[in-house]
Symmetry: C2
Subunit: 328 residues, 2 copies
């Protein structure tokens, strides 16, 4: 499963995420250390092995599914609330379009797709409106294993499960989430490139008020070293995930995910998002993700206190340029 | 009183602070607008007209006076608490030395001074240890006028009166204070160059944790435009103050003060520092000084949360560079 046929090439160093059989306690050690690990050979979501598109169409139900459309292979998520915000800067043009589709419609589109058409990516939270067979399959996950992991790592509650169905070639560009993620592959293969929280300064996320909050401004396929000089220090960790594999993506770890060619034409994944553990006593020195959380708080406070988003950049520049820039 | 004989030349534009007779209501209007003004022709501290060095020596008392010594004409204040701080960076070398002297000793030093010796600057808060004649002179200030100004502007309490006695040629470089300042000239002349709070980004103050907090890093006599590019946008307001004049220096206004040559050999001033008015309802858009206060709070919070001062600059750089630097 590791032939790198037809995969994109990148400028930066890439090591491998450790691949560990799910029964090996090493996997749990790595998770406890808040590092990524690829767990193989498990049956945690075996009941979803039959979730091909035909089965899903027959059993998911008649409700709408969130499907994004893109003019390119890139699906760069954006926060709609930050677009609609009355204080928001008015010049944001969403790079992808969000639409609602019935599953049958989505499946038909995939079947008839031609390269000049927009690409699609279905990203839908599983909820109570799904059909009974799907509910049963979901109940049939190995919850003892899943819950044990949640408990062993002190995670908060399971907040959602998203179903991801993307076309081969689709790319979700580098971003981070604030929740812990168990990412389970169902159909097709995905190439996940991860960067630790301490590479924040190499990935230049958008301002927190921006609709692309938590996304990197750096196009990893065409790195602009003039705007983003520290991108030269990027060092990624890669995992190719195949059906049955589970990738643990720790909170605040950047992830860039490509749906690989050479499979059934699409990739299907389900994730489990858990709220981070409560903070407890703060120990020093701080971890990288704690500093990222601190920076987020600073940006939020300043943005809220200034009210006018146009004033945020000038204030931060005045605070830092020539005052902290020669002290590192 | 306005001949500019033998005054230093600067690169930046300098306008004049309005000079207004103290009886003209315009002066109070300007103060209410939080702008500087030079009030002339008053008798507010007439009882201090006799405060030459002989009288002061005879009447101040036997206690110690804080006197700073400098190897140059520059007296750049520093916060001792920030030098001693256990978390402080260890490489700070104080540019001036603080010592305690009897007034008679200070006066003798001034009399016998030769250019190869250190310069002196007495900066002492007036307190209850002063002799009776001085107490009477102090009581003899026009407190009705002073208190009316405090009231009309909603200032907080009078926090201190400092007595400043400096050698001609001494320079207190640009810095800002967080309190309202009525600066009264007693003997000799001073050249005060002021910059509004909105020129913060042209003056590049030291980090808040630094002993030179609130001081500009820019040497105005030899501006380094490479390190401090926005110093090109400096625009100052100048007031030459003579005995009897009162200069209102609003809170957060930068001031650079030179003791001019051609007088009795020294300059004597007394200031009145008032706590700023309480905040009240915040109105938008914010004033420049409120943004300066906001930046101070951000710096303090981050410095305290990180604990190690060496981590502050890297965090601020990661927060800002390539993220807010191209959005102004
Ligand atoms: Zn994600
Ligand atoms: Zn001052």
């Amino acid at each position: 499963m590791n032939e790198k046929y037809g995969m994109r090439k990148y400028d930066f160093v890439i090591e491998e995420v450790p691949r560990v059989p799910i029964t090996d306690p090493l996997g749990q050690q790595i998770m406890k250390a808040e590092a990524p690990v690829l767990l193989t050979g498990g049956d945690v979501i075996s009941s979803a092995k039959k979730w091909d598109l035909e089965y899903l169409e027959a059993n998911l139900g008649m409700e709408d599914f969130v499907v994004y459309l893109s003019d390119s292979h890139v699906f760069k998520y954006y926060d709609e609330k930050k677009v609609r915000d009355p204080q928001a800067l008015p010049n944001f043009v969403p790079p992808i379009k969000r639409s609602d589709m019935k599953f049958a419609e989505f499946r038909r589109y995939l079947k008839k797709w031609l390269p000049e058409q927009k690409r699609l990516y279905l990203q839908q939270a599983l909820n109570s409106t799904v059909g009974e067979a799907i509910v049963n399959d979901f109940r049939g996950f190995q919850w003892s294993w899943i819950n044990e992991v949640q408990k062993a790592n002190g995670w908060g509650p399971l907040t959602s499960n998203l179903l991801f169905i993307g076309m081969e070639g689709n790319l979700t560009p580098a971003h981070y989430d604030e929740q812990e993620n168990l990412f389970c592959q169902v159909e097709g293969r995905k190439r996940c490139i991860l960067f630790p929280p301490d590479q924040f300064s190499c990935l230049y996320p958008y301002p927190v008020y921006h609709p692309h909050d938590r996304q990197s401004q750096v196009d990893l396929e065409r790195i602009d070293y003039v705007r983003f000089p520290k991108a030269r220090d990027l060092h990624g960790y890669e995992a190719i995930i195949c059906p049955g594999d589970i990738l643990f993506i720790p909170k605040y770890w950047w992830h860039h995910i490509e749906s690989l060619y050479g499979g059934p034409g699409h990739t299907t994944s389900i994730n489990f998002w858990y709220k981070a553990p409560p903070v407890g006593t703060i120990e020093y020195p701080l971890k990288a993700h704690q500093k990222v959380a601190m920076m987020r708080n600073v940006e939020k406070m300043v943005t809220e206190a200034l009210r006018d988003q146009r004033e945020v950049a000038p204030l931060f520049c005045a605070l830092v340029l020539g005052r902290y820039t020669d002290r590192t």
